[in-house]
């Protein structure tokens, strides 16, 4: 009871608006250079990479080594459990404690002697690491004395890294919590040697993964047939295979404090607005939760307005689509373990585009986009309009149509709104059941369920035949929407408009359009207004639904404020100019 009173008081009482930090992708120093002939600042990716902190520890001379060793001996009383200790036993104890050994059975510790005289051990997660690499390229190399012929004295870690191990990547680290343990969990192998204050992390990932397959939710007739898989490395490679550009940056960020996954943030240096990249990284780094798996959870943590119905990112399982977004100046986020990439920022119109739009000629693409728009409008408004028309505005229906509707409804015992809700809910049930039922039966259930249920309902005079047409067209319209999230939003909105239409006819639907429209217009996706380039107006083609001929699409989207807006020169088909020139001669 006191809780309820408090809730009511909170609802009614005035609260100061919370000063949440908002992000706007404004035109500024990074705004695009629209003319190619203008001076363009060269972007040196290598310079950036040089600034990045190097993982490899610089070589240390003998005096420095001894000094550190003595210093460590001085502090022996209090060993730092986060740092790699000189004593192998302490390191072994830390590892055992951290991985809950011996209870935990899938973390393997293999103790052995390096060069038959120095104690050492390796740690890896069984199943995540490739046993062949461990056996043939780590253990065999380390246990063969001939590989240590030229080794003199001291910590052999650097010697091993340079001369012994024949693996593609090995880096030394000292910190357990930040560097070593997350990497072991990721499938790498850690090598600890007695007397060394660092552990060598060796690339040995080799877990089971699905092969690259056809995308199942974004099928196209013309275009690539490759889809993302659950493996992050594979997904990054699939994108890199398309965008073979030195400026394509992939940054790895940790997500999920307990499940320790990583996600890749990909963008094109020099094309993507640096402020946008900064914001994306800020939001991902700012997630403080224990468990994230897949793009769906990550998306909910980084979106601008979680209470809005419309999606604020685009999810794609197509590497070619992801590459198109990258080239357009957007940022791609690929979480490990998910076959979908998240694209930000997004505008409403983008949600109605597909990869096929760019693969077919512009006339077909424009027609297809209009069909999708009609589908979207039908899926959102058609049932609501039908209810409003039948319940309130009979005078607005042409006489012949009115007679047809009246005849069809003659024997139906339910009010129109119950009739439509009955059918809509049945349709949603068939849809949901079709997804849950495995394989081919699911499709059959969908078709049979819809056909039999519809026909039986009409035969039993529970619904009118005209309503079956309305519900069927609505369903088809919903399936025509390319974005699953947008389609889901439309499914909910449809019921809202049915309610509004049933409550107060066209007036209610108009009120809903105005209210929902204004709410959507107030939305931003990573600082970009949701209805740009129409509201607010930005430099763009004739209409967002009209796809221009590909050779006329000279500019990147203006709302993204990319540093380099121009995609191609005004005359991208240079051969046309040559031909004219030849004609003159």
């Amino acid at each position: 009871m006191p809780g309820m009173i408090k809730s009511i008081r909170n609802l009614l009482a005035y609260k100061e608006p919370t000063k949440a930090e908002s992000f706007e992708l404004l035109e500024g120093t990074f705004e695009g250079i629209e003319r190619q002939d203008r001076e363009q600042k060269p972007v040196d990716v290598n310079a950036k990479s040089q600034e990045e902190p190097k993982c490899v520890k610089p070589p240390v001379d003998v005096d420095e080594w001894n000094r550190r060793k003595n210093q460590d001996h001085g502090n022996k009383a209090k060993p730092d459990v986060n740092k790699v200790n000189q004593s192998l036993n302490i390191n072994l104890e830390i590892i055992r404690k951290q991985f809950n050994l011996p209870t935990n059975k899938d973390v393997i510790i293999r103790e052995f002697s390096v060069n038959r005289d120095t104690n050492a051990f390796i740690v890896y997660v069984d199943g995540m690491a490739d046993r062949m690499i461990i056996n043939d390229f780590i253990l065999r190399q380390l246990m063969t004395p001939s590989h240590f012929d030229i080794f003199e004295d001291g910590c052999p870690m650097q010697y091993i890294e340079k001369n012994v191990l024949s693996v593609n990547d090995a880096v030394a680290f000292t910190d357990f919590t930040i560097d070593i343990i997350p990497r072991i969990l990721n499938g790498l192998t850690a090598l600890f040697i007695d007397g060394c204050t660092e552990a060598l992390i060796i690339e040995s990932r080799g877990y089971e993964k699905r092969n690259v397959d056809k995308p199942s939710t974004e099928t196209v007739i013309r275009g690539s047939q490759e889809g993302f898989t659950e493996n992050l490395r594979t997904n990054i490679t699939l994108v890199r295979k398309i965008v073979r550009n030195k400026d394509l940056i992939t940054e790895m960020l940790p997500i999920g404090k307990t499940n320790n996954l990583t996600c890749a943030v990909m963008y094109l240096n020099g094309i993507t607005n640096p402020e946008l990249v900064k914001e994306v990284k800020k939001r991902i780094k700012g997630i403080n939760t224990d468990f994230i798996v897949g793009d769906g959870i990550l998306e909910q943590f980084i979106e601008d307005q979680p209470f809005m119905l419309l999606p604020q990112v685009i999810n794609t399982e197509r590497p070619d689509r992801a590459a198109t977004f990258l080239m357009g100046g957007q940022v791609i986020i690929i979480p490990d373990g998910s076959p979908f990439a998240i694209t930000v920022p997004v505008t409403f119109y983008r949600l109605l585009y597909t990869t096929e739009d760019t693969n077919v000629r512009w006339q077909y693409a424009t027609a297809l986009r209009f069909i999708r728009l009609v589908g979207l409008l039908a899926a959102t408004f058609l049932p609501g309009l039908y209810v409003a028309l039948v319940l309130y505005h009979q005078a607005m229906i042409p006489t012949d149509l009115l007679a047809s509707i009246a005849t069809a409804r003659e024997n139906v015992p339910f009010p129109t709104v119950i009739e439509i809700l009955l059918m809509e809910i049945s349709f949603e049930l068939i849809r949901e059941a079709g997804i849950r039922v495995p394989g081919i039966i699911g499709t059959t259930l969908g078709i049979l369920g819809a056909l039999i249920l519809g026909q039986a309902a009409v035969a039993a005079s529970l619904v009118s035949p005209i309503l079956i047409i309305i519900v069927a067209v609505t369903g088809l319209g919903n399936f025509a929407i390319p974005s699953y999230s947008l389609a889901s939003a439309v499914r909910i909105l449809r019921f809202v408009f049915i309610f509004l239409g049933a409550t107060i006819g066209f007036y209610g639907i108009s009120a809903g359009i105005f209210l929902f429209g204004c709410t959507a217009c107030s939305m931003k996706s990573f600082g970009v207004p949701y209805f740009a380039p129409v509201a607010p107006k930005a430099k763009a083609g004739p209409l967002p639904y009209i796809r221009q001929p590909i050779w006329m699409e000279d500019m990147r989207d203006d709302p993204l404020n990319t540093p380099n807006r121009r995609r191609q020169p005004e005359i991208s088909r240079t051969w046309t100019r040559k031909r004219r020139g030849e004609g003159k001669e």
Binding site: Y14, E16, P17, L389, Y392, H393, A395, M396, I397, P398, T399, D400, L401, I504, G505, F506, Y507, G508, I509, S510, A511, I513, F514, L515, G517, C518, T519, C521, S522, P529, F531, V534, A535, P536, K537
Partner: protein, 366 residues
């Protein structure tokens, strides 16, 4: 200061033009037919001209005090207390505009569409939506107007073109109506419908510079002048002026007459959406401008606490007229004929006082 966001010229033009043009859907064309006969369609161009002159004074005032909105200028010119009187007058004018438009809309809806629905129900839903959208701020309303503006314009023109089957050119005669002098005086008096451009001065901080305000103001007056003139002409061409005077919502009536065979008829279903959405935009922007002015006057940092009381006030004001006759010939006619005093005179006075004060100041300095 409340955060209002930024709007561009296109959004501002759509917003103000829709607000001005919306009046043509209600009872005003019928009242004009009664008082002017056949000359209503060009009378509105005279109104637009006077509206543009009125806006010019507001623009000159904004130019004199760059970076300030109308409320801040009033305070700078008249001092806080005298300015408060002018600001409250402006709040009252904007709120009255919203309330009267709301009641007019509800009455016309009741006459043509929902004859059995209680008027409070129609108005209650309307004010609730307007209040919620006002909380979202100026930016979403303006963006929605820009988004909907093109669709509304195309539908409006289609309706006018389809109505052409009922046009009879001889209905324009006598071209001078009840006399040119009467037309000009009425034109000047009814310039109130173009006074909505003053809203641009209220939200001047959201516009990107004076040039944008100037462009948006004149462009919206021109566009709405042409559209209102077109629709009044269509209405005059469709009905004899003595019949037109008896029609509650002539534009709606005009649409019901469209008949191109068995299927292309009864276009009011489409028109209803244009009418509803345009009215939602018009009432909401007037309501928002009233709330914004009030907040600026009393230095209220957050618009939300003001919205609910103002919504109740707007609803109460809208409930004052007893019936549609009192509303049309009393309240609507009064505010359309004399509203320009409340909208245009304070900026004119402020301009003159500021000129005088500046002169005095210079003399003193010299």
């Amino acid at each position: 200061m409340i955060k209002e966001g930024k709007i561009g010229v296109r959004e501002a033009v759509s917003l103000i033009a829709i607000t001005m043009t919306n009046r043509v859907f209600f009872t005003s064309p019928g009242v004009l037919a009664k008082s002017l006969g056949t000359s209503g369609w060009y009378m509105t161009l005279i109104s637009a001209l006077f509206g543009a002159i009125g806006f010019t004074f507001a623009y000159l005032l904004l130019k004199k005090y760059p970076g300030k909105n109308l409320i801040e200028i009033f305070e700078a010119v008249f001092g806080r207390y005298i300015a408060l009187a002018f600001i409250i007058l402006l709040v009252f004018m904007l709120l009255s505009n919203a309330s009267i438009m709301l009641r007019e809309f509800a009455e016309v809806m009741k006459v043509y569409v929902f004859s059995l629905t209680p008027i409070t129900y129609i108005m209650g839903i309307f004010i609730l939506v307007a209040a919620i959208v006002s909380i979202l701020g100026l930016e979403p309303i303006a963006r929605f107007s820009a988004f909907a503006g093109v669709i509304l314009l195309i539908t409006f023109i289609i309706v006018l073109v389809l109505s052409s089957q009922n046009y009879k050119i001889h209905r324009l005669a006598p071209i001078l109506g009840y006399g040119l002098d009467r037309t000009i005086i009425t034109g000047m008096m009814r310039s109130t419908i173009y006074a909505d451009a003053i809203i641009l001065a209220v939200v001047a901080g959201s516009m990107q510079g004076l040039n944008h305000i100037k462009k948006a103001g004149y462009l919206s007056i021109t566009i709405s002048g042409i559209l209102v003139a077109m629709s009044l002409a269509a209405f005059t061409l469709s009905f004899p002026y003595y019949t037109a005077a008896e029609i509650t919502a002539p534009m709606y009536q005009l649409v019901t007459l469209i008949d191109y065979g068995r299927f292309v008829q009864r276009m009011e279903a489409i028109f209803l959406f244009v009418w509803n959405i345009a009215t939602f935009i018009s009432v909401t922007i007037n309501f928002y401008a009233a709330a914004s002015t009030y907040c600026k006057a009393f230095r209220i940092q957050d618009i939300r606490p003001v919205i609910v009381p103002l919504a109740i006030l707007a609803f109460t004001l809208a409930m004052i007229p007893k019936d549609i006759s009192e509303l049309t010939f009393g309240y609507v006619n009064t505010i359309r004929s004399y509203g320009w005093i409340g909208f245009f005179i304070p900026p004119v006075l402020a301009l003159f006082v500021s000129m005088f004060r500046k002169k005095g100041g210079e003399t003193k300095n010299a």
